[in-house]
Structure formats: C-alpha cells, structure tokens
C-alpha cells in the first residue's frame, strides 16, 4: 500500500469512528436546506391587501380576480376613498393597497395604457419590495393576456420591469446556491482545517513530519475525504431542492457537479491554509468562522446584494472564493450557462486552490 492511500485510509477511519461529527455533517445540510426553504423563506403568501376600485368595470374586476387567484394576495377590503385606505393600513393590518383609476377598461381599449397606483407599508422594506414584485408580475401577466385577447400585434402596455429566470422571485432559487456554498465551506474548509489542526495539537503531525512521506500527500490526504463527504451533502441538497422546492437545474448537471468539485477543492485548500497558520483546533475553528464563514455569508452576494455595498467591501469580496462560486452556480442552475460562460470563475477558483495548497505545504514544515 502506498503512502497516499494509507493516509486516505487513516482519514476515513477517523471520520467513520467519529460518529457524532459524521452524522452531524450528513444531517446538517438536509436540515439547513429544509430550514431555509420552509421557514426563512421570503416568499409571502396571502398578504392582506385593499383595493380601491374606482372604475368597477369588467377589466378591473378581472384584474382583482387575478390578484386573488395568484395566491400571494388576499383582498380583505374594498375601501371607497383614500381615507379608508389609510384606515385599513392602521387597523386592518394590510400590507399593500392598489388603486385602480376610473375608466380603467376605457383607457385600456382606447389609449392602450392605464396607470395603477400601489401604496405600500414600507415599515418592512423587504416585504414591501417583494409584494411590489408580485403585483408587477400579476399585472404583467394580466396585460399580456389582455393583449393576446384583443389580438393587437403591436399595441401593448409599457411594462418596463422585465423579470427573467425567476419571474416569481421565488426565494428558494436564491437560497439553494447559497446553502450549497455554506455547506461546502462548513464541511470541507471547517472540518479539514480542524482535523489538520488536531494533528498539530496532539503531536501526531510531528510524527508524520519526521517520516519521509511527502508533505503534498499529507495535505491531499486531508482534502480528499472531506471533499467526498461534502459532495454527498451537495447531492442531498440538490435532490431536496429539486423534489421538495421544485428548483430547476437549467444548466447541465455534469457542469454543476464539476463546478461544485472545483469549489470544494478551493474550500478545502482554504481550510488547509487556515490550519497551517493556527496551532490548535480552537484557533482553526475561530479563524474559519471569522475568516471564511462570515465573508461567505455576508460578502458573497448570497444574502446581501454586493452592488449595493460600499466599494471597499465589493473589492474585498473578490478575494473570497464564495463570491465567484455563487456567481457561477447561479449561472449554471438558473440561467443554464455552460462551460464557456463560466470558465473564468472556474479558473479563479482553481488558481486560488493551487495557491492555498502551495502556501500551506510551505508552512507545514516550519521549524521555528
């Protein structure tokens, strides 16, 4: 048996005999994806709204029906004037009010345009903007159906907002790539850095270093087992996302898996880098949390859009692998991009991995 396969065998024995960590690692991704998917979901169902219908004609009734039928809204009152709308906001807990102008149907048929007014409760900005998006989506569908109905080739409504790829702003589509990233960072970077730091802490690393075994083997032997576990987790997340949350995988599955493998390599090498500069398992854990986990959550564009951040953070985000991975995985899963669309991201991730590994090998056998 050669040295590398012996090291791999040893790592797998460590993993399998540590049943608590193993079950945690395998159960956590599933728990996380369900948690995010069901509870932290930003999808809003049956939001209470009021509609001030000033025209009360066929088309306005039809639009109101469309709103109710969408499932996003529940029309709970039909105020008669704007004063009553105000009352509804204060006392009936409505989140949004829609004002349909007088002579709605007439304007549609004659001027091919109509102005709808939306009043939002912006005390919760997130909810307000999500509901706005829903209204736009419903109105857009309403207008396109209307145009089809009256068979007017070029006559149409000017709907300026066009939502591609995720027309319903379904948040699961946003969360799944983020969760995959988080899991891969947690499993590969955190665990592999802890296991290497453990060897330093317990002194087994010194025993390994004075053997003639190649340093590269020690590093690779730590990286591969956690990549495999993380790969299993990724598959589990994808299966749940597709079956439970109906998340589409628009790109090729092979491309997606290849991308994940490259990112796992980057994350695991980052873990090696961290453990090469930390002395104990606690050090490794803290540095991974502060140096990798937080940036992954905050600076990857997963929860908070990068382009609304100060320039410093936008630049800073570039040095963390997660940003590039999230860009690439969204492209593959949602837009259906192929290799030639994302090769640049892959290249960046791969170069990062190589740099991290070279650096950790050079740090591993520091003799002072």
């Amino acid at each position: 048996m050669n040295a590398l396969s012996m090291i791999l065998k040893k790592e797998f024995i460590h993993i399998i005999r540590d049943t608590i960590t193993l079950s945690l690692v395998l159960a956590m991704p599933i728990a996380l994806v369900l948690l995010f998917g069901f509870t932290i979901s930003t999808d809003i169902r049956n939001a209470k709204i009021s509609v001030l219908d000033q025209s009360k004609d066929t088309q306005s009734k039809y639009l109101i029906d469309r709103l109710s039928a969408s499932g996003y809204f529940q029309v709970i009152s039909y105020p008669n004037n704007e004063m009553e709308i105000d009352y509804d906001f204060k006392n009936k807990d409505i989140k949004l009010a829609l004002i349909i102008p007088p002579n709605f149907e007439g304007s549609l048929s004659k001027e091919h345009s109509a102005t709808l007014q939306v009043i939002n409760d912006v005390s919760d900005l997130n909810v307000a903007s999500i509901l706005n998006n829903y209204v736009r989506a419903v109105v857009q569908r309403f207008t396109s159906d209307y145009n089809d109905e009256i068979k007017q080739g070029d006559g149409n409504f000017d709907i300026t907002v066009k939502m591609l790829y995720n027309p319903e702003s379904n948040s699961v589509y946003m969360f799944v790539p983020g969760i995959i990233t988080l899991i891969m960072v947690l499993v590969t970077a955190l665990l592999s850095s802890i296991t290497l730091a453990r060897e330093k802490e317990t002194g087994t690393m010194r025993m390994l270093l004075i053997t003639p075994v190649k340093k590269l083997y020690i590093i690779i032997g730590k990286v591969i087992p956690y990549m495999i576990i993380s790969f299993i987790s990724t598959i589990a997340i994808l299966v749940i996302s597709v079956t439970v949350f109906k998340m589409p995988i628009n790109g090729s599955l092979l491309m997606l898996l290849f991308l994940c493998i490259i990112f796992m390599l980057t994350a695991a090498s980052f873990g090696m880098l961290i453990s090469s500069i930390s002395r104990t398992q606690v050090d490794a854990m803290m540095i991974t949390m502060m140096g990798l986990f937080l940036p992954t959550v905050l600076l990857s564009g997963f929860l908070f859009p990068l382009n609304s951040m100060p320039m410093v953070f936008q630049v800073l985000a570039n040095i963390f692998p997660a940003k590039w991975f999230i860009l690439a995985i969204k492209d593959v899963m949602i837009k259906g991009s192929g290799f030639f669309d994302i090769w640049f991201y892959l290249l960046i991730l791969f170069i990062m991995a190589v740099v991290f590994i070279i650096f950790s090998i050079s740090r591993l056998d520091k003799r002072n």
């Binding site: 048996m1 050669n2 040295a3 012996m6 040893k10 024995i13 460590h14 005999r17 540590d18 317990t202 002194g203 087994t204 010194r206 025993m207 390994l208 270093l209 004075i210 053997t211 003639p212 075994v213 003799r367 002072n368």
Partner: protein
C-alpha cells in the same frame, strides 16, 4: 565514531525565554545516553532540535556527520523519535497505528520483527484495542514500536517513562537494553534520577545548561559530602528547624526520609548534629550513613550548602 556531536547550541523562545545556553555534547555510537534534569530544564527543546523539528538560534549539530539543519531530510531517515506526549492516533487500533507508520516509513512490520519482537509480544494481545484506550505503559510500548519500525540508527526517547507505573517503567528499561543489542544508539531523557543509573553516560541539565556529563558511577563517586538519612514524624517542622542548623550541610526531603549531606569532619559534626536535633525537640529515627544516588549528586551540584 560519535553518533551525535553538538557544539554551541543556543535556543531562545520569543526573544525572552532562554531554553538552551551554549550546549556542547558528544554521544558515542551504540551507547545509552541519558539526559537528566527537572521539568523545564530544556530537555524537550534539545530533543526537538535533534529530531529536526525545531531550528536552534545558533550552534552546529551533527548526527552521524549529517547537519540537522541542512540535511534534515537525510537525518529524518535514520532517527526514531518517541515524543514526550502520546503522539499516536487514539482512535486507531494498535495494529492500525503500527501499519500506518510502517507504510509512512516505506517499511514493513515483518522486515523488522526481530527488533520490535520483545515489545510486540507484550502489546500484540491488545492489537485490536484503540490506542487511546491503552494504559500508560502500553501506550509507550506501542509508540516505541512505531519509532523502531524503520530500523533507525539512533532512537530519541523524550521522557518515555513519565506517567508510567513502576513495573512498566522497569519493563521499559529492559526493552531499551534489548534495543541496544541491535546497535541502535539510544538518547533518553528523564526527570527520574533513579532511572539514570541504567544509562551508560548521563548529562545533567539545569536551566538550559549542561552541568556535567559522566557515567552514573563516576557522578556518584564524585559526591563530596557525607550523606546521612533519617526518618521524622513531622518532616515539615524538621525542615523549618534545619534552617538554623549551625553545620555546613545540605538537607532535603527524600520520600518520607530526610537526607542531609554534611561537608564537615563527621567525628565532631555528628554528635553536634544530634545535640542540635535534641535541643530543638525533633524526635527522629536512627541517623545512618548511605551511598548517594544520582539524585543526591544532582542536588549537590545545583544547590549550595548552608553555612558555606
């Protein structure tokens, strides 16, 4: 031929803590060389430097003519190392640990069975037990097996018997004797002075300095004082009283006994001493002269007698 040649080695940690001061040592091939000193004397630092895991600040170290700084890779091929703390994988079984290190050294258990056999015989009944679940003595025997698996020319043992029961300690030293028959040079450190007599030569180390290198018999012969021992029911009050003793002597508790080394003419000093104890109402057993141990010699070297 000298197995180890150390000249002028210094090591300071963080620019403040001086661990080793101008160490000069020579270890002959095939001998069992002991490094004896209290905790914190610098033994482990010296071992880390000798095993190529730590760089000295200054000095030149050759192991079989190879420089441990430049040729560290070649040095690593010929050394075996048993660190001061248990450094095997606790979740791997005895057999798995041994297999692992055999492969790491590109060696095999069968090839080197003749060296490790006396140890392997003792631990093989537990070969499926996890290393972390072994007793202290068994752990050290397993670690010794792993350190010998590539047939090193020189074996470094950093406090191999610390935390090991007296029976296992004796067995361990018997094993070292058998290892030596294979021509392997053994360098062993220990805080237990009684073990030092089992070495061919010992170096006494204190505060990072070597304070003497000799065979244990020579060290004992060089003892200058007259050593006496007696028992007291209240060692604590005895030691307080001893502070006022008018004689030139060194006193220290030794187990439940008190050892006193006198630097006087004993014909007049002994009656004087007995009177002194009586005056201070210190009941004691018979005061008998004894042969010094290495520990007594060590104390004589590092501690000034009172009334000097």
């Amino acid at each position: 031929m000298s197995a180890i040649n150390i000249r002028g080695v210094n090591k300071t940690y963080d620019g403040k803590v001086v661990a080793l001061k101008d160490i000069h040592l020579e270890v002959e091939e095939g001998e069992v060389f002991g490094l004896v000193g209290p905790d914190g004397a610098g033994k482990s630092t010296l071992f880390n430097i000798l095993t190529t895991l730590l760089l000295p600040d200054a000095g030149d170290i050759r192991i079989f003519q190879m420089d441990v700084i430049q040729d560290y890779k070649a040095v690593r091929q010929i050394i075996g190392y048993l660190p001061g703390t248990f450094s095997l994988y606790p979740d791997l079984s005895v057999q798995e640990n041994l297999d692992f290190f055999a492969v790491m050294y590109k060696s095999s258990i069968e090839e080197n069975m003749n060296i490790i056999e006396p140890i392997w015989k003792q631990i093989s009944p537990f070969k499926d037990r996890k290393a972390g679940k072994l007793s202290g003595g068994m752990k050290q025997k397993l670690a010794l097996c792993c350190a010998l698996i590539h047939r090193p020319r020189i074996l470094f043992l950093d406090e191999p018997t610390t935390g090991v029961d007296p029976v296992s300690r004796k067995e361990f030293w018997d094993i070292l004797k058998s290892i030596r028959q294979h021509g392997i040079t053994v360098v062993v450190s220990t805080p237990y002075m009684d073990e030092a007599t089992r070495c061919d030569r010992i170096a006494l180390i204190q505060n990072g300095e070597i304070i003497g290198v000799n065979p244990p018999q020579t060290i004992i012969q060089n003892f200058k004082g007259h050593l006496y021992t007696f028992k007291s029911d209240d060692i604590f009050s005895l030691l307080q009283v001893m502070e006022q003793c008018p004689l030139r002597c060194n006193y220290y508790p030794y187990g439940e006994h008190c050892h006193v080394a006198f630097y006087e003419d004993m014909e007049t000093a002994m009656p004087q001493f007995e009177r002194f104890l009586e005056e201070h109402q210190q009941p004691h057993s018979k005061i008998t002269a004894i042969q010094p141990s290495v520990e007594d010699c060590f104390i004589e070297i590092v501690k000034e007698p009172i009334n000097n």
